[in-house]
């Protein structure tokens, strides 16, 4: 009787040991949904094929919930995540709180990244060690229908007032086509839609001394210009997010988009989905009193500081940002690369004819204010911008109130 029991005990111990040993080689990845999610899913699939013994779990979340998941994991020291995908604007908070591992210390990530994306992945910005590797080189572009502008003898807009004039002209002459669109939903989308206009008017959210700076004539002029676009946009633009803008452009229902991310452009020239093949041009956003202010929106990969599988996590990140995989991501999902050399790659330029303009915008891209409280500042501004957009408050009042609340948030 004793022998079988002993054998069973040994077998159980071995099985538990084997499972534990296997469990150690695992990877939990928290990443975005939508086009970013597709890119990450492809990479996980490819990495899994190359490393069949690694147990990989990928969480796919929209931007807001992803931030919450990563921040909660770090604050609770849950050690539940290994690789985290982050918006460049979360980086100051994550790096300041030591939530990300120093990738240089872990072994480094090779590659020459586009300068602006490379800078925000380091702490201090541009000069410090690397805490993240840029995965998607997004920069806010301006999109317009070249065929429609040519048809009505219009030149591409060089200023935001010209955008409004062109939008009005096309709206009057082209039934079923709205002049211009943008993301009007509150929070991050409306703020990122507004920032290129604010920058073009020389306005700032936070000044160089770290004080709220929205209560200014430049910001007011920018907001009034932004609101002037509303009657030229499709009805319901207040609820529009990325999907709505992208689809409206693909279906030929808008002539221009004040903000168009290259990550949305992957299918613009795909005849099976798009009605405007070859007709949409992506360029740097217009200027106004200042030159264009294209906004950086890089998505990066980092290793959670408390990751129990940091070496494996770094290996995965190196895999994703390698030249062959960056090219594959661009070709298969339309997400723009972060390695500078790929913007001259003939295959990619053939598929994405706007890459030279995009690289130029990316090299001149303006990063959002590098402050740890950005998440809160963005939420405050996003709420007041939308209240102005839907007519709940006047522009001057919206900016003054946002400025007061932002100042209070910065002081907390």
């Amino acid at each position: 009787m004793r022998k079988p029991i002993a054998a069973l005990a040994v077998a159980t111990a071995l099985a538990v040991g084997a499972v534990e040993a296997q469990a150690q080689d695992r990877l939990v990845i928290a990443g975005r949904d939508a086009a970013f999610g597709t890119a990450l899913a492809r990479m996980v699939e490819a990495y899994q094929q190359r490393n069949p013994t690694v147990r990989i779990e990928r969480l796919e979340l929209p931007g807001g919930p992803l931030y919450e998941r990563i921040a909660l994991n770090a604050r609770e020291r849950a050690r539940a995540l290994d690789v985290v995908m982050l918006d460049d604007i979360w980086a100051p908070e994550f790096m300041a709180n030591n939530w990300l591992a120093d990738l240089d210390r872990l072994g480094g990530v090779p590659g020459t990244f586009v300068k602006s994306a490379d800078a925000v992945s380091r702490n201090p910005v541009g000069t410090g060690p690397r805490f993240a590797a840029p995965m998607v080189g997004n920069v806010a572009m301006f999109a317009y229908r070249g065929d429609l502008l040519a048809k009505h003898g219009l030149q591409p807009p060089r200023s935001w007032t010209e955008v409004a004039t062109i939008a009005r002209t096309i709206q009057e002459r082209e039934p079923g086509v709205a002049g211009v669109a943008f993301r009007g939903i509150r929070g991050n989308p409306i703020v990122t839609g507004f920032l290129p206009i604010l920058g073009a008017y020389g306005g700032e959210i936070i000044d160089s001394q770290g004080r709220a700076a929205l209560d200014s004539p430049a910001a007011l002029a920018a907001l009034e210009q932004f609101l002037a676009l509303r009657p030229l946009a499709p009805r319901g633009v207040e609820t529009w997010n990325a999907t709505e803008v992208r689809e409206a452009m693909e279906q030929g229902r808008i002539a221009m988009s004040a903000e168009f991310w290259p990550g949305w452009a992957g299918t613009l020239d795909d005849a099976s989905r798009s009605r405007v093949v070859g007709n949409v041009n992506l360029v740097s956003p217009p200027g106004q009193t200042r030159g264009p202010a294209p906004m950086l929106g890089a998505w990066m990969l980092g290793v959670a500081a408390d990751s129990p599988n940091a070496a494996r996590a770094l290996d995965f990140i190196r895999f994703v940002v390698s030249p062959e995989n960056q090219k594959r991501i661009a070709i298969e999902t339309g997400n723009p690369p972060t390695l500078a050399a790929l913007y001259a790659d003939t295959d990619l330029v053939r598929q994405f004819r706007w890459y030279p303009a995009q690289l130029q915008a990316l090299e001149n891209a303006v990063a959002r204010p590098r402050i740890a409280q950005w998440n809160r500042v963005e939420a405050i501004l996003g709420e007041h911008l939308q209240m102005a957009l839907v007519g709940q408050t006047q522009p001057r009042e919206a900016l003054a109130e946002a400025n007061r609340e932002i100042q209070r948030a910065l002081a907390r």
Binding site: A71, R75, R186, Q386, G391
Partner: protein, 290 residues
């Protein structure tokens, strides 16, 4: 021997439930209450006592005041509508007619759906360009309604979805109440010459009042916690037209990690919900005493 005669046995029997109550209800409540007087971004670790500062900031902040107003408005409108619709359905389905059972199942269907599914359905129906509701309006020559992006309509639109989902709950309670009224009362009233309205006013309403009260109170408490429908349908917008207290607390706690301010807002919510709950308990005790 009865347990009441042996206090130690009572204590032993009550201990597990009491321990769970203290651990899962009292401890978190006490913690939230204490944190509401602190500046903290992560529990008590690194927390700083700030007295009533969080409460003062809440009251000064337009977002909180708007969220409180939205919550109260929604709770009132949704509850009244749900109880009235539930009452109408109960009166209708209390009568004998063909396909009554099938109709009862149809009426109850929305109540068994998950809230996120309900929100997805109504978000699609409310779509300005291709939604079912605006298509129906355009089919009869009317203009489409900006259901979710007009700040004056958005909260009412969410209330409409809530009524669709939760009126069946009121129906269930009120239907049970109707079935408990002895039919002899109606027969006697009919013999005495009372018409339908008189029978409804003098028999149905008085005898159904406790059920109406329970339905209204339970729906008020539930509406007061509104979060998921708003989160899925409007995200609190347009502007802050649909932001509720639950969403406000969530944003403060999990987006801003301002745990002190979030705790103060939560305490304010608990006070209101507690008052409503106490009213419910008092009414329950009174009716039991009767």
């Amino acid at each position: 021997m009865r347990a009441q005669n042996r206090p130690w046995l009572l204590l032993v029997l009550l201990a597990p439930a009491a321990a769970l109550f203290v651990l899962l209800t009292m401890y978190p409540l006490a913690r939230v209450f204490l944190l509401s007087f602190a500046a903290s971004d992560h529990g008590f670790e690194g927390a700083r006592f700030v007295g009533l500062e969080n409460y003062a900031e809440l009251l000064q902040g337009r977002s909180f005041r708007r969220a409180a107003w939205n919550t109260a408005f929604f709770a009132l409108v949704a509850t009244v509508a749900e109880v009235l619709v539930g009452l109408g359905l109960a009166l209708l389905l209390d009568r004998a007619f063909a396909f009554r059972r099938a109709l009862t199942l149809v009426v109850l269907a929305p109540y068994v759906l998950s809230t996120i599914v309900v929100a997805a359905i109504w978000r699609a129906w409310f779509h300005y360009d291709v939604g079912f509701l605006n298509n129906a309006l355009r089919a009869v020559g009317l203009d489409g309604v900006p259901w979710l992006f007009d700040p004056n309509i958005a909260l009412l639109s969410i209330a409409l979805a809530d009524v669709w989902q939760n009126a069946p709950f009121c129906f269930l309670i009120l239907y049970a109440g109707l079935r408990s009224i002895p039919p002899e009362l109606y027969e006697a009233a009919r013999i005495d010459g009372a018409g339908a309205w008189r029978r409804f006013r003098d028999i149905t309403v008085p005898l159904l009042t406790p059920y109406l009260f329970v339905a209204a109170l339970m729906r008020t408490l539930d509406s007061f916690k509104l979060f998921d429908k708003v989160y899925a349908m409007t995200g609190g917008g347009p502007g802050n037209a649909t932001e509720t207290l639950s969403m406000h607390v969530h944003r403060l706690a999990f987006r801003f990690f301002d745990i002190g301010l979030a705790s103060a807002a939560a305490v304010a919510m608990i006070l209101v919900a507690g008052t409503l709950g106490a009213a419910y308990a008092v009414q329950l005790l009174r009716s039991e005493a009767r």
